[in-house]
Subunit: 136 residues, 4 copies
Protein backbone atom coordinates (compact mmCIF):
# COMPACT_ATOMS: atom_id res chain seq x y z
CA UNK A 1 0.00 0.00 0.00
CA UNK A 2 1.10 3.52 -0.80
CA UNK A 3 2.31 5.84 1.88
CA UNK A 4 -0.59 7.75 3.39
CA UNK A 5 -1.43 11.35 2.69
CA UNK A 6 -0.71 13.50 5.73
CA UNK A 7 -2.66 16.59 6.68
CA UNK A 8 -2.24 18.71 9.80
CA UNK A 9 -5.05 20.69 11.37
CA UNK A 10 -5.66 22.61 14.57
CA UNK A 11 -8.63 21.87 16.79
CA UNK A 12 -11.06 24.78 16.78
CA UNK A 13 -12.89 25.98 19.86
CA UNK A 14 -16.17 25.42 17.99
CA UNK A 15 -15.32 21.71 17.77
CA UNK A 16 -15.17 21.09 21.51
CA UNK A 17 -18.07 20.13 23.74
CA UNK A 18 -18.74 20.53 27.43
CA UNK A 19 -16.73 17.40 28.23
CA UNK A 20 -13.74 19.57 27.35
CA UNK A 21 -12.76 17.49 24.34
CA UNK A 22 -13.49 17.40 20.61
CA UNK A 23 -17.11 16.42 19.99
CA UNK A 24 -17.15 12.94 18.47
CA UNK A 25 -18.99 13.78 15.23
CA UNK A 26 -16.21 16.19 14.27
CA UNK A 27 -13.85 13.31 13.61
CA UNK A 28 -15.87 12.62 10.48
CA UNK A 29 -15.15 16.19 9.42
CA UNK A 30 -11.45 15.70 10.12
CA UNK A 31 -11.46 12.52 8.06
CA UNK A 32 -13.18 14.33 5.22
CA UNK A 33 -10.46 16.97 5.43
CA UNK A 34 -7.96 14.15 5.12
CA UNK A 35 -9.45 12.62 2.00
CA UNK A 36 -10.26 15.88 0.21
CA UNK A 37 -6.75 17.21 0.85
CA UNK A 38 -5.43 13.94 -0.50
CA UNK A 39 -7.52 14.33 -3.64
CA UNK A 40 -6.26 17.89 -4.10
CA UNK A 41 -2.68 16.73 -3.57
CA UNK A 42 -3.14 14.13 -6.30
CA UNK A 43 -4.41 16.70 -8.75
CA UNK A 44 -8.17 16.24 -8.55
CA UNK A 45 -9.72 18.54 -5.93
CA UNK A 46 -13.13 17.35 -4.83
CA UNK A 47 -14.82 20.59 -5.89
CA UNK A 48 -13.46 19.98 -9.38
CA UNK A 49 -15.03 16.51 -9.38
CA UNK A 50 -18.43 18.01 -8.51
CA UNK A 51 -17.94 20.65 -11.19
CA UNK A 52 -17.48 17.82 -13.69
CA UNK A 53 -20.81 16.34 -12.62
CA UNK A 54 -19.92 13.64 -10.10
CA UNK A 55 -20.17 13.43 -6.36
CA UNK A 56 -18.84 10.99 -3.81
CA UNK A 57 -21.41 10.21 -1.14
CA UNK A 58 -20.62 8.48 2.13
CA UNK A 59 -22.28 5.06 2.36
CA UNK A 60 -20.57 3.61 5.42
CA UNK A 61 -18.46 4.95 8.21
CA UNK A 62 -16.71 3.25 11.09
CA UNK A 63 -14.88 5.04 13.86
CA UNK A 64 -12.93 3.95 16.91
CA UNK A 65 -12.10 6.61 19.45
CA UNK A 66 -8.96 5.93 21.45
CA UNK A 67 -7.95 9.15 23.15
CA UNK A 68 -9.56 12.55 23.35
CA UNK A 69 -8.40 15.43 21.17
CA UNK A 70 -8.42 18.78 22.93
CA UNK A 71 -8.50 22.44 22.07
CA UNK A 72 -4.96 23.59 21.44
CA UNK A 73 -3.98 20.26 19.88
CA UNK A 74 -2.59 19.93 16.42
CA UNK A 75 -3.86 16.77 14.76
CA UNK A 76 -2.16 14.74 12.09
CA UNK A 77 -4.65 13.01 9.81
CA UNK A 78 -3.23 10.11 7.82
CA UNK A 79 -5.36 8.93 4.91
CA UNK A 80 -5.04 5.81 2.81
CA UNK A 81 -7.04 4.67 -0.18
CA UNK A 82 -7.88 1.22 1.06
CA UNK A 83 -9.82 -0.12 -1.88
CA UNK A 84 -10.95 1.20 -5.26
CA UNK A 85 -14.01 -0.68 -6.49
CA UNK A 86 -16.02 -0.23 -9.65
CA UNK A 87 -18.38 2.37 -8.23
CA UNK A 88 -17.01 3.06 -4.76
CA UNK A 89 -13.85 3.84 -2.83
CA UNK A 90 -12.90 3.01 0.69
CA UNK A 91 -10.60 5.31 2.65
CA UNK A 92 -8.86 4.51 5.91
CA UNK A 93 -7.70 7.07 8.48
CA UNK A 94 -5.53 7.42 11.52
CA UNK A 95 -5.61 10.56 13.62
CA UNK A 96 -2.87 11.29 16.06
CA UNK A 97 -1.89 14.12 18.34
CA UNK A 98 0.93 15.73 16.38
CA UNK A 99 4.22 15.85 18.19
CA UNK A 100 3.12 13.42 20.89
CA UNK A 101 2.46 10.69 18.33
CA UNK A 102 -0.49 9.54 20.40
CA UNK A 103 -3.22 7.74 18.49
CA UNK A 104 -6.59 9.52 18.83
CA UNK A 105 -8.87 7.68 16.46
CA UNK A 106 -9.01 5.33 13.51
CA UNK A 107 -11.72 4.86 10.97
CA UNK A 108 -12.87 4.03 7.50
CA UNK A 109 -15.42 5.54 5.16
CA UNK A 110 -16.82 4.02 2.01
CA UNK A 111 -18.00 6.43 -0.66
CA UNK A 112 -20.11 5.71 -3.70
CA UNK A 113 -19.94 7.72 -6.88
CA UNK A 114 -23.17 9.30 -8.12
CA UNK A 115 -24.04 11.18 -11.28
CA UNK A 116 -25.15 14.71 -10.35
CA UNK A 117 -26.52 15.41 -13.82
CA UNK A 118 -29.15 12.68 -13.80
CA UNK A 119 -32.45 12.93 -11.91
CA UNK A 120 -32.28 10.88 -8.72
CA UNK A 121 -28.48 10.92 -8.82
CA UNK A 122 -27.99 7.23 -9.62
CA UNK A 123 -24.81 5.39 -8.59
CA UNK A 124 -22.32 5.32 -11.39
CA UNK A 125 -18.90 3.93 -12.21
CA UNK A 126 -15.97 5.93 -10.87
CA UNK A 127 -14.71 8.38 -13.48
CA UNK A 128 -11.49 7.18 -15.08
CA UNK A 129 -9.53 10.21 -13.90
CA UNK A 130 -10.49 9.61 -10.28
CA UNK A 131 -9.50 5.97 -10.55
CA UNK A 132 -6.20 6.91 -12.12
CA UNK A 133 -5.32 9.44 -9.48
CA UNK A 134 -6.43 7.50 -6.41
CA UNK A 135 -5.76 3.96 -7.53
CA UNK A 136 -2.54 2.30 -6.57
CA UNK B 1 -46.51 44.87 16.08
CA UNK B 2 -47.97 41.39 15.92
CA UNK B 3 -47.44 38.95 18.70
CA UNK B 4 -44.23 36.97 18.16
CA UNK B 5 -44.01 33.44 16.92
CA UNK B 6 -42.87 31.14 19.72
CA UNK B 7 -40.77 28.02 19.20
CA UNK B 8 -39.33 25.75 21.90
CA UNK B 9 -36.16 23.75 21.44
CA UNK B 10 -33.83 21.70 23.61
CA UNK B 11 -30.11 22.38 23.71
CA UNK B 12 -28.18 19.51 22.15
CA UNK B 13 -24.92 18.20 23.52
CA UNK B 14 -23.33 18.89 20.14
CA UNK B 15 -24.10 22.58 20.60
CA UNK B 16 -22.04 23.03 23.76
CA UNK B 17 -18.37 23.95 23.92
CA UNK B 18 -15.67 23.39 26.50
CA UNK B 19 -16.77 26.43 28.47
CA UNK B 20 -19.76 24.26 29.41
CA UNK B 21 -22.29 26.46 27.62
CA UNK B 22 -23.87 26.74 24.17
CA UNK B 23 -21.26 27.80 21.61
CA UNK B 24 -22.05 31.35 20.52
CA UNK B 25 -22.46 30.69 16.78
CA UNK B 26 -25.32 28.29 17.50
CA UNK B 27 -27.59 31.17 18.48
CA UNK B 28 -27.75 32.02 14.78
CA UNK B 29 -29.00 28.49 14.18
CA UNK B 30 -31.61 28.89 16.93
CA UNK B 31 -32.75 32.17 15.38
CA UNK B 32 -33.03 30.51 12.01
CA UNK B 33 -35.16 27.83 13.63
CA UNK B 34 -37.34 30.62 14.98
CA UNK B 35 -37.92 32.33 11.65
CA UNK B 36 -38.36 29.16 9.58
CA UNK B 37 -40.84 27.74 12.07
CA UNK B 38 -42.65 31.07 11.90
CA UNK B 39 -42.78 30.85 8.11
CA UNK B 40 -44.14 27.29 8.30
CA UNK B 41 -46.73 28.37 10.87
CA UNK B 42 -47.89 31.11 8.51
CA UNK B 43 -48.34 28.66 5.66
CA UNK B 44 -45.15 29.18 3.65
CA UNK B 45 -42.41 26.79 4.77
CA UNK B 46 -38.98 27.97 3.72
CA UNK B 47 -38.25 24.80 1.73
CA UNK B 48 -41.40 25.55 -0.29
CA UNK B 49 -40.07 29.05 -1.03
CA UNK B 50 -36.82 27.55 -2.37
CA UNK B 51 -38.82 25.05 -4.40
CA UNK B 52 -40.59 27.98 -6.03
CA UNK B 53 -37.24 29.46 -7.00
CA UNK B 54 -36.46 32.03 -4.34
CA UNK B 55 -34.08 32.06 -1.43
CA UNK B 56 -33.62 34.36 1.53
CA UNK B 57 -29.97 35.05 2.23
CA UNK B 58 -28.68 36.62 5.43
CA UNK B 59 -27.13 40.05 4.81
CA UNK B 60 -26.72 41.33 8.35
CA UNK B 61 -26.85 39.82 11.79
CA UNK B 62 -26.57 41.38 15.22
CA UNK B 63 -26.49 39.44 18.45
CA UNK B 64 -26.26 40.34 22.11
CA UNK B 65 -25.49 37.56 24.54
CA UNK B 66 -26.86 38.12 28.03
CA UNK B 67 -26.77 34.79 29.85
CA UNK B 68 -25.39 31.40 28.91
CA UNK B 69 -27.66 28.60 27.68
CA UNK B 70 -26.67 25.17 28.96
CA UNK B 71 -27.15 21.56 28.03
CA UNK B 72 -30.42 20.39 29.53
CA UNK B 73 -32.07 23.79 28.98
CA UNK B 74 -35.22 24.25 27.00
CA UNK B 75 -35.10 27.51 25.07
CA UNK B 76 -38.02 29.63 23.99
CA UNK B 77 -37.28 31.49 20.76
CA UNK B 78 -39.56 34.48 20.11
CA UNK B 79 -39.49 35.80 16.56
CA UNK B 80 -40.92 39.02 15.18
CA UNK B 81 -41.02 40.33 11.64
CA UNK B 82 -39.57 43.74 12.32
CA UNK B 83 -39.67 45.24 8.87
CA UNK B 84 -40.75 44.08 5.41
CA UNK B 85 -38.96 46.06 2.70
CA UNK B 86 -39.15 45.80 -1.06
CA UNK B 87 -36.47 43.18 -1.40
CA UNK B 88 -35.56 42.30 2.19
CA UNK B 89 -37.00 41.38 5.57
CA UNK B 90 -35.70 42.04 9.02
CA UNK B 91 -36.48 39.61 11.84
CA UNK B 92 -35.99 40.24 15.53
CA UNK B 93 -35.48 37.54 18.17
CA UNK B 94 -35.48 37.02 21.89
CA UNK B 95 -34.25 33.79 23.40
CA UNK B 96 -35.06 32.91 26.96
CA UNK B 97 -34.56 29.94 29.24
CA UNK B 98 -38.02 28.41 29.22
CA UNK B 99 -39.64 28.15 32.60
CA UNK B 100 -37.14 30.46 34.26
CA UNK B 101 -38.08 33.32 31.93
CA UNK B 102 -34.44 34.41 31.94
CA UNK B 103 -33.31 36.34 28.88
CA UNK B 104 -30.39 34.60 27.12
CA UNK B 105 -29.89 36.58 23.95
CA UNK B 106 -31.45 39.07 21.59
CA UNK B 107 -30.72 39.70 17.96
CA UNK B 108 -31.79 40.70 14.51
CA UNK B 109 -31.11 39.34 11.06
CA UNK B 110 -31.79 41.03 7.75
CA UNK B 111 -32.41 38.75 4.79
CA UNK B 112 -32.46 39.64 1.12
CA UNK B 113 -34.49 37.77 -1.46
CA UNK B 114 -32.60 36.31 -4.40
CA UNK B 115 -33.75 34.59 -7.56
CA UNK B 116 -32.37 31.04 -7.63
CA UNK B 117 -33.29 30.53 -11.27
CA UNK B 118 -31.10 33.29 -12.67
CA UNK B 119 -27.33 33.01 -13.08
CA UNK B 120 -25.57 34.91 -10.29
CA UNK B 121 -28.71 34.82 -8.17
CA UNK B 122 -29.54 38.53 -8.36
CA UNK B 123 -31.48 40.27 -5.59
CA UNK B 124 -35.15 40.43 -6.40
CA UNK B 125 -38.38 41.81 -4.99
CA UNK B 126 -40.00 39.71 -2.29
CA UNK B 127 -42.58 37.36 -3.79
CA UNK B 128 -46.11 38.58 -3.16
CA UNK B 129 -47.08 35.47 -1.21
CA UNK B 130 -44.18 35.94 1.20
CA UNK B 131 -45.07 39.56 1.73
CA UNK B 132 -48.69 38.65 2.33
CA UNK B 133 -47.88 35.98 4.87
CA UNK B 134 -45.17 37.79 6.81
CA UNK B 135 -46.34 41.38 6.44
CA UNK B 136 -48.38 42.94 9.19
CA UNK C 1 -35.61 -6.79 23.08
CA UNK C 2 -37.67 -3.92 24.32
CA UNK C 3 -39.55 -1.72 21.94
CA UNK C 4 -37.36 1.15 20.76
CA UNK C 5 -37.55 4.70 21.98
CA UNK C 6 -38.94 6.95 19.26
CA UNK C 7 -37.95 10.58 18.79
CA UNK C 8 -39.03 12.91 16.00
CA UNK C 9 -36.92 15.80 14.78
CA UNK C 10 -36.95 18.24 11.88
CA UNK C 11 -33.94 18.70 9.65
CA UNK C 12 -32.44 22.15 10.13
CA UNK C 13 -31.08 24.24 7.29
CA UNK C 14 -27.75 24.38 9.11
CA UNK C 15 -27.51 20.59 8.81
CA UNK C 16 -27.55 20.48 5.01
CA UNK C 17 -24.53 20.70 2.73
CA UNK C 18 -24.08 21.80 -0.86
CA UNK C 19 -25.13 18.38 -2.15
CA UNK C 20 -28.61 19.45 -1.03
CA UNK C 21 -28.89 16.78 1.66
CA UNK C 22 -28.08 16.37 5.34
CA UNK C 23 -24.32 16.38 5.89
CA UNK C 24 -23.26 12.89 6.90
CA UNK C 25 -21.67 13.74 10.26
CA UNK C 26 -25.00 15.10 11.51
CA UNK C 27 -26.44 11.60 11.70
CA UNK C 28 -24.22 11.09 14.75
CA UNK C 29 -25.91 14.13 16.27
CA UNK C 30 -29.36 12.71 15.46
CA UNK C 31 -28.38 9.40 17.03
CA UNK C 32 -27.21 11.22 20.13
CA UNK C 33 -30.55 12.97 20.25
CA UNK C 34 -32.16 9.54 20.10
CA UNK C 35 -30.22 8.07 23.00
CA UNK C 36 -30.34 11.14 25.25
CA UNK C 37 -34.09 11.51 24.74
CA UNK C 38 -34.40 7.83 25.57
CA UNK C 39 -32.44 8.36 28.78
CA UNK C 40 -34.65 11.31 29.70
CA UNK C 41 -37.77 9.26 28.95
CA UNK C 42 -36.51 6.54 31.30
CA UNK C 43 -35.99 9.01 34.11
CA UNK C 44 -32.25 9.65 33.93
CA UNK C 45 -31.48 12.64 31.69
CA UNK C 46 -27.90 12.64 30.51
CA UNK C 47 -27.16 16.06 32.05
CA UNK C 48 -28.24 14.60 35.39
CA UNK C 49 -25.74 11.74 34.93
CA UNK C 50 -22.94 14.26 34.36
CA UNK C 51 -24.10 16.24 37.37
CA UNK C 52 -23.67 13.06 39.44
CA UNK C 53 -20.08 12.77 38.21
CA UNK C 54 -20.22 10.30 35.33
CA UNK C 55 -20.01 10.70 31.61
CA UNK C 56 -20.65 8.37 28.70
CA UNK C 57 -18.01 8.74 26.01
CA UNK C 58 -18.34 7.34 22.52
CA UNK C 59 -15.78 4.61 21.84
CA UNK C 60 -17.06 3.18 18.57
CA UNK C 61 -19.54 4.24 15.95
CA UNK C 62 -20.79 2.52 12.82
CA UNK C 63 -23.11 4.09 10.30
CA UNK C 64 -24.72 2.94 7.09
CA UNK C 65 -26.31 5.60 4.93
CA UNK C 66 -29.17 4.31 2.78
CA UNK C 67 -31.12 7.34 1.54
CA UNK C 68 -30.55 11.05 1.87
CA UNK C 69 -32.43 13.14 4.41
CA UNK C 70 -33.41 16.57 3.14
CA UNK C 71 -34.34 19.95 4.49
CA UNK C 72 -38.05 19.95 5.22
CA UNK C 73 -38.00 16.28 6.27
CA UNK C 74 -39.18 15.09 9.63
CA UNK C 75 -37.02 12.22 10.85
CA UNK C 76 -38.04 9.44 13.16
CA UNK C 77 -35.10 8.19 15.23
CA UNK C 78 -35.59 4.75 16.75
CA UNK C 79 -33.16 3.83 19.51
CA UNK C 80 -32.52 0.48 21.14
CA UNK C 81 -30.23 -0.46 23.98
CA UNK C 82 -28.47 -3.33 22.28
CA UNK C 83 -26.18 -4.45 25.04
CA UNK C 84 -25.41 -3.35 28.59
CA UNK C 85 -21.90 -4.43 29.61
CA UNK C 86 -20.04 -3.89 32.83
CA UNK C 87 -18.55 -0.56 31.86
CA UNK C 88 -20.12 0.20 28.50
CA UNK C 89 -23.42 0.31 26.62
CA UNK C 90 -24.15 -0.25 23.00
CA UNK C 91 -27.05 1.56 21.34
CA UNK C 92 -28.57 0.77 17.97
CA UNK C 93 -30.46 3.22 15.77
CA UNK C 94 -32.70 3.37 12.76
CA UNK C 95 -33.55 6.66 11.15
CA UNK C 96 -36.43 6.93 8.77
CA UNK C 97 -38.22 9.65 6.88
CA UNK C 98 -41.35 10.09 8.99
CA UNK C 99 -44.57 9.53 7.14
CA UNK C 100 -42.86 7.94 4.16
CA UNK C 101 -41.44 5.16 6.32
CA UNK C 102 -38.31 5.20 4.17
CA UNK C 103 -35.15 4.01 5.86
CA UNK C 104 -32.43 6.69 5.83
CA UNK C 105 -29.67 5.26 7.97
CA UNK C 106 -28.81 2.66 10.56
CA UNK C 107 -26.02 2.61 13.05
CA UNK C 108 -24.61 1.68 16.42
CA UNK C 109 -22.56 3.49 19.00
CA UNK C 110 -20.71 2.01 21.93
CA UNK C 111 -20.21 4.25 24.93
CA UNK C 112 -17.92 3.75 27.88
CA UNK C 113 -18.59 5.15 31.32
CA UNK C 114 -15.92 7.38 32.83
CA UNK C 115 -15.54 8.98 36.24
CA UNK C 116 -15.50 12.77 35.84
CA UNK C 117 -14.33 13.33 39.40
CA UNK C 118 -11.04 11.49 39.05
CA UNK C 119 -7.99 12.94 37.28
CA UNK C 120 -7.63 11.38 33.83
CA UNK C 121 -11.27 10.32 33.85
CA UNK C 122 -10.69 6.59 34.12
CA UNK C 123 -13.23 4.09 32.78
CA UNK C 124 -15.54 2.92 35.48
CA UNK C 125 -18.41 0.51 36.02
CA UNK C 126 -21.81 1.77 34.91
CA UNK C 127 -23.66 3.36 37.81
CA UNK C 128 -26.37 1.09 39.17
CA UNK C 129 -29.13 3.56 38.39
CA UNK C 130 -28.12 3.77 34.75
CA UNK C 131 -28.03 0.00 34.47
CA UNK C 132 -31.42 -0.27 36.09
CA UNK C 133 -33.03 2.27 33.81
CA UNK C 134 -31.50 1.18 30.53
CA UNK C 135 -31.13 -2.55 31.15
CA UNK C 136 -33.78 -4.88 29.88
CA UNK D 1 -4.02 51.15 14.35
CA UNK D 2 -1.67 48.22 14.07
CA UNK D 3 -1.59 46.15 10.96
CA UNK D 4 -4.11 43.33 11.14
CA UNK D 5 -3.31 39.73 11.86
CA UNK D 6 -3.80 37.62 8.75
CA UNK D 7 -4.92 34.01 8.76
CA UNK D 8 -5.72 31.82 5.77
CA UNK D 9 -8.17 28.95 5.88
CA UNK D 10 -9.87 26.65 3.39
CA UNK D 11 -13.62 26.25 3.32
CA UNK D 12 -14.64 22.76 4.42
CA UNK D 13 -17.42 20.79 2.81
CA UNK D 14 -19.07 20.52 6.23
CA UNK D 15 -19.38 24.30 6.29
CA UNK D 16 -21.56 24.59 3.18
CA UNK D 17 -25.34 24.45 3.08
CA UNK D 18 -27.81 23.50 0.39
CA UNK D 19 -27.67 26.99 -1.11
CA UNK D 20 -24.20 25.92 -2.28
CA UNK D 21 -22.37 28.46 -0.14
CA UNK D 22 -20.86 28.68 3.33
CA UNK D 23 -23.60 28.60 5.97
CA UNK D 24 -23.82 32.02 7.56
CA UNK D 25 -23.18 30.99 11.17
CA UNK D 26 -19.77 29.62 10.18
CA UNK D 27 -18.43 33.13 9.67
CA UNK D 28 -18.45 33.47 13.45
CA UNK D 29 -16.23 30.39 13.57
CA UNK D 30 -13.90 31.90 10.96
CA UNK D 31 -13.71 35.12 12.97
CA UNK D 32 -12.89 33.15 16.08
CA UNK D 33 -10.14 31.44 14.14
CA UNK D 34 -8.87 34.90 13.26
CA UNK D 35 -8.72 36.20 16.80
CA UNK D 36 -7.36 33.04 18.42
CA UNK D 37 -4.61 32.74 15.80
CA UNK D 38 -3.82 36.39 16.48
CA UNK D 39 -3.55 35.69 20.20
CA UNK D 40 -1.26 32.73 19.53
CA UNK D 41 0.86 34.86 17.19
CA UNK D 42 1.25 37.44 19.94
CA UNK D 43 2.44 34.85 22.42
CA UNK D 44 -0.73 34.15 24.42
CA UNK D 45 -2.70 31.26 22.91
CA UNK D 46 -6.32 31.27 24.04
CA UNK D 47 -6.06 27.78 25.56
CA UNK D 48 -3.23 29.10 27.71
CA UNK D 49 -5.48 31.93 28.92
CA UNK D 50 -8.14 29.41 29.98
CA UNK D 51 -5.46 27.32 31.66
CA UNK D 52 -4.55 30.37 33.72
CA UNK D 53 -8.17 30.69 34.84
CA UNK D 54 -9.70 33.28 32.55
CA UNK D 55 -12.06 33.03 29.62
CA UNK D 56 -13.19 35.50 26.99
CA UNK D 57 -16.92 35.22 26.34
CA UNK D 58 -18.66 36.78 23.37
CA UNK D 59 -21.10 39.51 24.44
CA UNK D 60 -21.92 41.11 21.10
CA UNK D 61 -21.45 40.20 17.49
CA UNK D 62 -22.24 42.07 14.30
CA UNK D 63 -21.84 40.66 10.82
CA UNK D 64 -22.38 41.97 7.32
CA UNK D 65 -22.38 39.44 4.53
CA UNK D 66 -21.29 40.86 1.18
CA UNK D 67 -20.48 37.94 -1.10
CA UNK D 68 -20.82 34.20 -0.68
CA UNK D 69 -17.84 32.02 0.19
CA UNK D 70 -17.83 28.68 -1.57
CA UNK D 71 -16.33 25.24 -1.15
CA UNK D 72 -12.88 25.28 -2.72
CA UNK D 73 -12.26 28.88 -1.67
CA UNK D 74 -9.33 29.93 0.42
CA UNK D 75 -10.33 32.71 2.79
CA UNK D 76 -8.11 35.40 4.21
CA UNK D 77 -9.29 36.52 7.66
CA UNK D 78 -7.94 39.89 8.77
CA UNK D 79 -8.30 40.64 12.46
CA UNK D 80 -7.81 43.90 14.31
CA UNK D 81 -8.02 44.68 18.00
CA UNK D 82 -10.39 47.60 17.76
CA UNK D 83 -10.62 48.57 21.40
CA UNK D 84 -9.20 47.29 24.67
CA UNK D 85 -11.43 48.28 27.58
CA UNK D 86 -11.09 47.57 31.28
CA UNK D 87 -12.92 44.27 31.19
CA UNK D 88 -13.62 43.68 27.51
CA UNK D 89 -12.04 43.69 24.07
CA UNK D 90 -13.54 44.43 20.71
CA UNK D 91 -12.17 42.73 17.60
CA UNK D 92 -12.89 43.70 14.02
CA UNK D 93 -12.67 41.37 11.03
CA UNK D 94 -12.59 41.41 7.28
CA UNK D 95 -12.89 38.20 5.30
CA UNK D 96 -11.93 38.09 1.68
CA UNK D 97 -11.60 35.48 -1.01
CA UNK D 98 -7.85 34.98 -1.14
CA UNK D 99 -6.28 35.67 -4.49
CA UNK D 100 -9.39 37.39 -5.84
CA UNK D 101 -9.27 40.03 -3.12
CA UNK D 102 -13.06 40.04 -3.06
CA UNK D 103 -14.63 41.13 0.22
CA UNK D 104 -16.89 38.41 1.66
CA UNK D 105 -17.88 39.69 5.07
CA UNK D 106 -17.03 42.17 7.78
CA UNK D 107 -17.84 42.06 11.44
CA UNK D 108 -17.01 42.81 15.03
CA UNK D 109 -17.22 40.85 18.23
CA UNK D 110 -16.99 42.17 21.75
CA UNK D 111 -15.68 39.78 24.37
CA UNK D 112 -15.82 40.12 28.12
CA UNK D 113 -13.29 38.56 30.45
CA UNK D 114 -14.62 36.22 33.13
CA UNK D 115 -12.97 34.48 36.05
CA UNK D 116 -13.28 30.71 35.58
CA UNK D 117 -12.16 29.99 39.12
CA UNK D 118 -15.02 31.79 40.85
CA UNK D 119 -18.55 30.39 41.13
CA UNK D 120 -20.84 32.07 38.61
CA UNK D 121 -17.85 33.18 36.55
CA UNK D 122 -18.10 36.90 37.29
CA UNK D 123 -16.80 39.50 34.82
CA UNK D 124 -13.32 40.57 35.72
CA UNK D 125 -10.64 43.00 34.59
CA UNK D 126 -8.53 41.84 31.68
CA UNK D 127 -5.36 40.15 32.88
CA UNK D 128 -2.33 42.40 32.50
CA UNK D 129 -0.57 40.01 30.15
CA UNK D 130 -3.53 39.95 27.76
CA UNK D 131 -3.71 43.71 27.78
CA UNK D 132 0.00 43.96 27.12
CA UNK D 133 -0.05 41.55 24.22
CA UNK D 134 -3.20 42.76 22.50
CA UNK D 135 -3.11 46.45 23.38
CA UNK D 136 -1.67 48.90 20.91
Amino acid sequence: MRTPHEHHLHVRYAETDQMGVVYHANYLVYMEEGRTRMMAARGLPYHELERQGWALVVRKAELRYRAAARYGDEILVRTWVERVGGASIRFRYELERAGAGELLATGTTELACVDLGTEGRPPTMLPEELRARLGS
